[in-house]
Symmetry: C2
Subunit: 377 residues, 2 copies
Amino acid sequence: MNILVLGAGQLARMMALDGWVLELSLRAYDVGPKQVVDPLTKQIYPQSLNDAIAWADVITSEFEHIPYDVLETCEQSGKMYPDARAIKAGADRRLEKELLEQAQVANAPHLIVNDKIGFEQALTQLDLPLVLKSALAGYDGKGQWRLATLAEAEKLWPTLQAFLHDNPQQALIAEQMIPFDYEVSLVGARSHDGDIVSYPLALNHHHQGVLNLSIVDGSLPGALQQQAQQMFHAIAKQLNYVGVLAIEFFVVGERLLVNEIAPRVHNSGHWSQQGAFISQFDNHLRAVAGLPLGDTSLREPTAMVNILGEDTLDPAVYALPGCRVHWYGKDKRAGRKMGHINLSAPSREQLTEHITELARKLPAEQFPALHLYLQQD
Amino acid sequence: MNILVLGAGQLARMMALDGWVLELSLRAYDVGPKQVVDPLTKQIYPQSLNDAIAWADVITSEFEHIPYDVLETCEQSGKMYPDARAIKAGADRRLEKELLEQAQVANAPHLIVNDKIGFEQALTQLDLPLVLKSALAGYDGKGQWRLATLAEAEKLWPTLQAFLHDNPQQALIAEQMIPFDYEVSLVGARSHDGDIVSYPLALNHHHQGVLNLSIVDGSLPGALQQQAQQMFHAIAKQLNYVGVLAIEFFVVGERLLVNEIAPRVHNSGHWSQQGAFISQFDNHLRAVAGLPLGDTSLREPTAMVNILGEDTLDPAVYALPGCRVHWYGKDKRAGRKMGHINLSAPSREQLTEHITELARKLPAEQFPALHLYLQQD
């Protein structure tokens, strides 16, 4: 079976590695240079997007920021899973919020801000502090402004106004900042037949809006897992979703609020390559290709540490027990996701020991959340 | 780092999949058509063997039956690990037996038979029954003759004589048949620095000379593991070996006898893709590339079932707990190794349950050893 992936980054790469095992053939469409490439070698196929669509049995996506014309062309083929609506809901916070309301899942109180009137409504109808997020193309903490007091609002408005003026297709989502206890995410898959499997919740540690560390150790309350799965069902059903979908949550006491959704495999699911039998990449391919979904249960406590902006590690890391380093084959650039480290142990206590041992070999400057996590512990 | 693999079958393919994760670039030299190919796509690189040798930082091998001229050309580059001597010892039973004697590891009493005099010596000096194996190019039970009585010897000799006459570079190894209790194998890796790691012993079930089922469940006595590791050390040191080496043993009571060695990753090590953190393929690449060797410990009881001559399975197999199906992308042919299934469980008892459940979905005709194993249990 031939699968065309929109996007040619590390997620397509890791999908392709699992694709070979399933005897699925993958090509990637790099939306920037508009080229069809091999997701591993990056070798260019001399074919147009339309040729690639004709070649494909199934079209899927590794990210949501896809030009609408590309999405529409793919959607028209009737081969695209998840479909354009789901991908747009991941790319546009206006559609995402609309979806969450339709699916009746809890999320932060919010208003859409298109102009000064909208901004003033947000200030009066929502409780401060607020966070204002660009509707489109915001990720990893980019395109966000925080607002703690009414006094700050006056100073901030000119920046927001300029942003709205310069980007007429944009809007801002004013969201009440949630004083959450921690952040978790659920990665799950839904098949063509509506079967759903989901992985255990990952506990996520961000630094400056970028995921640094995910831990899945079975210590989160079962009630949270259930709540997350119910929300997953509601959203996935609302979208008639096929493939892997990730949902990020704020945990407030015993309650979950959806922060955002990603209609794709997700960084916080990379641990599944080692901590589960069937990875999120494998299950995504199974879902879109119509193969049975595979075992998502937790094999043993597992952590995932992102490697940001670094292309080498202390070689001793490779020899640590329960440890595997994954590289993405990218050129080094400050802050860039270059790879990740999966780390497992037979118990939570031993996992903490393993993480401590790993952290000793990783500089605090490059792995801030990892070191902060150990200080908290 | 660039790695050229001699051989372009499923072992090179699975090496390449782990190579991508380590950011190693692999090409394969297919010794039949004398072509340099991508081990995944099989796309032909327009280059000669010498070009590929110049391209490579390291040369390694996925199988031992390599023409001597190719081996010598590679060896001269000074980049080949394991070296030609080790590969020849895997391909020629005369050299293999010589190696085992030099390393002083126990193996079956044997004699080399080049002619009728040698055959008669074997009949008098060794205890019947015997097995006669061709020195070269015998694998998976091919090129073997069994001899139970002196009366049979007279009948068999014309066949053996014709074989020796038609293949002047060949010889026969007459080996005393070992009434073994079971067969096990040890897969280990040795680095450039002489560091050695080894996986737990696999218990192997063959059918008509072909591996069908390997089980690694931690139930074999520690003393056997130790014995196997000592023999591994002796052989690997004798060869100044670099890379993964597999040793197959007969277990006779509490004693191990080496059956044969394979200077490469081995079918009985495929379980390590799931039952260990770092697979045999990964560790082989680490060893030859000079990266630290990784964790070889058993994560949980794991079995590997070969898929022979079949290119489809009951889809329900994909959804079994602890189960992952690996395909090799080959055209279907009777008896051909088309893929394998890895299956794990938290305990030995549950693994047997999982194997039973799996066997229900696999026809006894195609998976004979699997069904026999369950009958014994």
